[in-house]
């Protein structure tokens, strides 16, 4: 993906750009708000990462200007402001995701890929499929190899989110945010327990497992 990175901290920008390049993306950097907005308006990026506090032009102002100009490129807002109200403000300005500093690079990468994917894959696909696992979003029915699986409503939403991001790493915080709607950091392994229960239901008794743990990052649903 062509990713525009608007970040004034040059050390962080260099490190992020290098990481993005190594992950197969094409990063482009802008060091202040005005430059960032100009590049975002002129270029044809798949994704924009903006730091919230920038010299010359505030990060949220960039997002608002982009939206006013009719650009719907996915925007991920990075910020040192992590209170709930800050996050709400960031999303209200038109950001698609909000990541609080400091974050692990794996977290950023997972979110970027989810965002880039969301821009392309239609969210309205009625039936999701990974290998022989099928999820009917309208009929609320899950089958594997034709055999019906019975899932709790929350397990259904968890699987739906994993299938929407099939092949991508999904972090625990992404799951907590998107499936449960919470932004705090639980101290116990609540998400892991839900995942292992879901895994038991969809992988148990089948030859190849689909739900994988990615060490140090999160989970990934894919054909092995």
């Amino acid at each position: 993906m062509r990713i525009l990175l608007v970040e004034d901290d040059s050390e962080a920008a260099t490190y992020l750009a290098r990481g993005l390049g190594e992950s197969g993306h094409l990063p482009e950097s802008a060091a202040d708000g005005c430059d960032g907005l100009a590049r975002a308006l002129a270029g044809d990026h798949d994704l924009v990462i903006v730091d919230r506090m920038l010299p010359r032009m505030d990060g949220l102002e960039i997002v608002r200007a982009l939206r006013r100009a009719g650009r719907d490129v996915p925007v991920l807002v990075l910020s040192a402001l992590g209170e709930v109200d800050d996050r709400v403000e960031g999303l209200r300005a038109g950001g698609d995701d909000y990541l609080v500093k400091p974050f692990s690079f794996a977290e950023l990468l997972a979110r970027l890929e989810a965002l880039g994917r969301r821009a392309h894959s239609g969210l309205s696909v009625p039936v999701l499929a990974v290998s022989d696992l099928r999820l009917d979003r309208l009929g609320r029915e899950v089958t594997r190899s034709g055999r019906k699986l019975s899932l709790q409503p929350r397990e259904f939403r968890l699987l739906e989110y994993l299938m929407l991001n099939a092949g991508q790493v999904v972090t625990r915080t992404m799951l907590l945010e998107n499936v449960w709607g919470y932004h705090f950091d639980p101290q116990t392994n609540v998400i892991d327990v839900h995942i292992s229960r879901l895994r038991r239901k969809i992988d148990h008794g089948f030859r190849n497992s689909l739900l994988h743990t990615v060490r140090g990052a999160g989970y990934c649903l894919r054909e092995s």
Binding site: G82, V84, S104, W180, Y182, H183, Q187, T188, V193
Partner: protein, 451 residues
Amino acid sequence: MLYAGLFSLTVAVLFMIVYWLASAQLRAQIDTGLVSESDALVALYRDRGLQALEQTVRARSRVEQHLVAPAGPADPGRRVYMLAGAGHRHVAGNLRNWPSRARTGAPVTLAVYDLGASGQARWMRARVVRLSNGDHLLVAQALDEANELRGHILVSLLVALAAALAIGVGGGVWMGRSVLLRIDGISRTAGEIMAGDLSRRVPLGQRDDEFADLARRLNAMLERIEALMRGMREVTDNVAHDLRSPLSRLRGRLEVTLRQGRDTGDYRGAMEQAIADADALLRTFNALLSIARLQAGVRREPFGQLDLSALCQSVAELYGAAAEEAGLALRVDLAPGVLIDGHAELLAQALSNLLDNAIKYVPAGGTIDLSLRSENGRAVLAVADDGPGIPENRREDVLERFVRLDSSRSRPGNGLGLSLVKAVADAHGGSMRLADNHPGLGVHLEFPRRG
């Protein structure tokens, strides 16, 4: 001062108008007298002839002269008459020479010279009438009296003006001084506060007026600022005190690895450990900040209506699996539709901390009860377990930041969990109570119900 000036100017203009009106009135009075006198003389001439007019003029002149100066002919008197024949030649009257500026028509003001011994000119109002035989009759009246009266009016007006000025300026200065004194008090307090003494307050003064009101409001504001500053100072103190030791642990570990590490495996392990340490530090830091903000009461948006029952249900569902995995039974008993004014994320975090704690400390086989009831207009949320509990004499302590009853530090956590729960309860106008669950710990949260 500006107002005093404006006030004086207004008064002065007002007095000028009064003076001008009074003079005009005086002159009009004199003119009316002159016109009626000359008209009467003309009527006399018309009815009884020139002879009678001459006699009357002489008689009147004598009377006037006698009134002013009974001893001699020095002064012709206040009113002068002159009957003049062809070429303004004197025929009769106490005025001998025709004033050059005298004209027939409306009365005019002119200077008359040949009066009295002094030979000084006198200002007079004069009316000239032309008789049918071509002679002229002049009747004039000295303006001395009128001028004198006008002088009196002017003097009294000036005195009044001076008094008004004195009162205006004096009152203004007095009022200004009292205002300045009180503003001075406020600004002195502000100065002391800026110099670092946050406990100073604006003096209220004796009178209960707008200034007292302003002072009270300023004091309330200062109270709030001081509380916020105290909160911030506490945060920095705590951050300094409680982040220093984990930071030095982290530093020590890195240093030792740098000195003794033999292979990449050692380094890798140390780095992973360092990242985990950093994450733990950040969690502690964030929790501290959240608690401080809640305690300081800095809130951007007011709390909205919230269904506490639904929120408990959702958090219970999130934790149910983890509890079961830990060999614990999570029993949930929620009264439906309990509404409060609250912040969903904060309340969910608080409840999650309580459930986290229970799962951490209650041994396998135990039970956790989550209940929500509505009691006397209050919502009562309780998390009770049958774990080890907290001895009564330590219950106060665990609400202090960073206090952990297991000093081994073998379990994860930063000792801020219950402090945060208490801060959330307080921020919602509620309360938190630790109780004995015989055996185990019961945490009761009470919130005011909405409506």
